[in-house]
Amino acid sequence: MGKIIALHSYKGGTGKTLLSVNLAATYVKKGKNVCLLDLDFRAPSLHAVFKTNNSERWLNDYLNGVCEIDKVLVDVTQEHGRSGKFFVGLANPATEAIREMSAKDRKWEMRALGRLLSLKTSLLNDMHHDYVILDTSPGLQYSSINAIVSADVVLVVTSLDASDIKGTQRMTRELYDLFDKKTGILMNKVLPEILSSKKEKQKFYKHFNSVHKLPILEAIPCFCDVLRAGGTYIFSEEKTEHPFTKTLDKLATKIEEF
């Protein structure tokens, strides 16, 4: 049985999308069948990463109940597959669609939760995906909490920013814990000098384990090369020997055992 992994954060811009995409690509490289879904309906991103408009339908349509999930998924195995199959589900980036999604009522959100929960059967059991990765909006958004409830594992992407740390602590108490979710922290954009020696690294992990009271799965340095790439290609796919790619390989294995 596969796993559904949601990437979430308190503040925006912590690296959820970058890490979702690269984690998905890492699993594909390892021969897993992966399905990556853009649940950030406020600021859709994956259509830009995959430069595809091939889907007949958007994830918006699936949640609206007008089509099934197979109509939404785009097969990007040709362009991005290594040994595993790679599918993406996109959020509709049109302004009108964004506005519509932000005006949904509680009844609709309740049904959307039901549709997201049923992905476990359709994507993992019937379509045999090994990993379903959910990229979400930051903070306490309906769509993000729906994603968290539907996921088997939640990865919280945090920075070293004080307000982000505080917010993440609060979300742990008031969100992740309440749903009994297996939750791990990804410290992202860490200054490389903080991780320079083994000893410093250990100190860093120990400190943040106690700050967040959750396992720190990985500390990912801030890489100028990643910034330089500007999201024009999937970094770990192209730069196979880069330390960023190596870090993601390690992270992927850790999540498998998590």
Partner: protein, 121 residues
């Protein structure tokens, strides 16, 4: 011999009926206990949606039951108890309380009570 067989069938039927009634009675008592414990009153005016924000606002013991039911879609107290690893009677009480609070619907089919979140029209 035939008379004996008939009697046996009759007594089994009777026992099943008694068991059914007892189960219903049990459920009703569960509901009463829950209402007493938490002081929740039925509010028939607003049928409520069991969305995630509502899930967050529920007390822990009810949230676990509610999330499990959302996952199962439709379930008996037995089905829920299997997932939560809590006693059937406990889940039955919680499920019935969620019905009273307006978050779940309950339907009897044959001898079993099925609980579900509002069905799509």
């Amino acid at each position: 011999m035939a008379v004996y067989k008939k009697l046996e069938v009759k007594s089994t039927q009777l026992l099943e009926k008694i068991k059914d009634s007892l189960e219903r009675l049990n459920e009703k008592i569960d509901v009463m206990i829950e209402i007493q414990k938490h002081g929740q009153r039925a509010n028939p005016e607003i049928p409520d949606a069991l969305d995630v924000m509502t899930l967050l606002s529920l007390p822990d013991h009810l949230r676990k039951t509610a999330v499990t039911l959302c996952k199962l879609g439709e379930a008996t107290a037995d089905n829920v108890a299997e997932q939560t690893k809590r006693a059937r009677a406990v889940e039955s009480g919680y499920l019935n309380q969620l019905v009273i609070m307006g978050y779940l619907k309950k339907e009897r089919r044959g001898r079993k009570a099925y609980f579900y979140v509002e069905k799509e029209a």
